[in-house]
Amino acid sequence: MANKIPRVPVREQDPKVRATNFDEVCYGYNKEEALLEASRCLNCKNPRCMTACPVGLQIPRFIAELAQGNIAGAAAVIAEDSSLPAVCGRVCPQETQCEGSCVLGVKGEPVAIGKLERFVADYPRMGDATGSASGPVRDSEYPAIPLEGVQGVKGSVRTNKRVAIVGSGPAGLACASDLAKWGYDVTIFEALHKAGGVLEYGIPEFRLPKDKVLKHEIEAVRALGVKIETNVIIGRTVTIDSLMDQEGFKAVFIGTGAGLPKFMGIPGENYNGVFSANEFLTRNNLMKAWREDYLTPIHAGKKVCVVGGGNVAMDAARTALRLGAEVHIVYRRTEAELPARKEEVHHAIEEGIIFDMLTNPVEVIGDERGWVKALKCVKMELGEPDESGRRSPVPVEGSEFEIPTETVIMALGTSPNPLISKTTKGLEVNRRGCLVATEEGATTRPGVFAGGDAVTGAATVILAMGAGRTAAKAIDAYLKQN
């Protein structure tokens, strides 16, 4: 019986070794392992995994192709719904989506859908080097496999209708891919000098290798005919109004994410040595401060406190660890409430990150030169459940104490950038600064659509991709009428 085979474990870099380098933590499956794992899928008639996937990936279909050894076929099935499978296979919270809904998970371990997706995405580029445990494989060592044939471009009639996509993150890339497949003339505008949005500046190399993985997926989107213009800030360099009125774009999709960092508003936050996770990660990821040959400076020091418990907090903590620091995660609830992906928390613990739970900062203490010297915290206990269903933490009176530290990184979440809403006529935002949009992604201005973190506030890569696809359908419908 297929379901008697235990879930095939995936090989990872040794925690002690990987804590000192930026190479990818997880090696992924090789062909043999992937085919064995694929054989565990029951190919359910009513695939709950697929319903749980925000982009509606045809999971049983691609796994069936893979189980038969037809990797190119599996890739073609995935390409119908996702342009970023190598990314999603690595960063999706599978445990709450596809794998969390897998029937096999009821009594045992669910099918490793994420790892299989990753394998299928990597294989055309890496060939038999996929899942290599013999150490990190460098980009140049991969066999060059052309992208043609991997993309599931359906025959479609080209239209000369131009669509502008603002932001080259997951929402924008997903929206652009679908529209390009349907024949639209799509241009993505990116404010930074590299495409990818949070995939480039936010998620670290050891989780999502940039040259090895991300670059290729973005190239695949380009191969669909999508143009990407970097260094264009919508709202400053040009506006949405000028794109539509002067440059001939018939529709616009805003996928600008949630880029504004939050701070706690506690005393001492402007001391030297207090950074937003965004700054710390952008310096390291986009600006490659971890590489000796890049000029970008970064400051970690000997001891770092990261405040927060989400994926961004884990990324910042594990980055600081790799830069040589002792790292504490300071979180006001308990481990059970950590919003980060399970795998990230597990990896962080393995690597030696220290978790200070039920701890909330109240002040940053500085030295006479204005640099951080300690983080003053208060102990917390869990009280009644709040709106989110999580038990809300309450400070324990008289429990103040100081954690000596050189650096404090604030990873408290982010909110959308107001640059576009402030410079575009007729765009409404809500109290939290998020763009107001319908389920389909239509904003309050005709022809302008939005999706992803810019609408929902900070969420996940895959939800943003889902929103991008939904908006693509709405844009298609809109342009067929206008």
Binding site: H193, T237, T282, L419
Partner: protein
Amino acid sequence: MLTPAICRMKVEAPRLAAAAQPGQFLIVRADEKGERIPLTISDFDAKRGTVTIVTQKIGASSTDIIAFEPGEAFADVVGPLGLPSEFVTMAPEELKKQRYILIAGGVGTAPVYPQAKWLKEHGVPVDVIIGAKTKDLLIYVEEMRAVCDNLFICTDDGSEGFHGMGTNMLEHVVSEGHQYTQAVIIGPMIMMKFTTLTCKKLGIPAIVSLNTLMVDGTGMCGACRVSVGGKTRFACVEGPEFDGYQVDFDEAMRRQGQYKAEEAEANEKHVCKIGRGK
């Protein structure tokens, strides 16, 4: 080269040139491995599609920029960033009542130029003080003379113009009977701090342009945060110009030096690298 350490260059960037306003800045990256460097725009020409920037040799990255030969290209140029100067959006009747004194220190003279030019073009009375350590470090003197009513030059060592700093010059000019409704101060942080204090003493409102650390320049990183009137503001999107009276300059100066240790190390390495290449 304006001086041996200060370089002016025109950069082709049509979209940026068409959108630029006085007071705004841009970000350049010399090459793939360089930093993103924020520079205040010194001039812009929408017709030719060019913007002018002025850089002073400070660290490894600015050295790379200065090393450019005419015809070479930056890896990246992006902008305009930040908000335009206050007067750009001021009501015409309000603007007509103003008398501006623009006070420039060192390389800060370059971004003062488009402001004086704009005010002159809009018929607003504008005087300019240019201060530098010494005669050889004075820049934009003739260009500035053409776009202001009165130009006052001062040098710390007295080698040209008035002998003294911008603060002394300002006091002198006011004592001679010149009156102003608004000062704009652009220069090194320490110069802006003391010139603001002088303005306060003389009862002239002062606007300063803060050249804080930045990475993205769009509000993402918060490296540029400054305390203005006790509140944390992001210089990149809420500035770069703020009410000088409200700015915590000591904090701003301290924050500006945040990566000094790392930068000193980079400079050393950088020199070594060039040495090896030769």
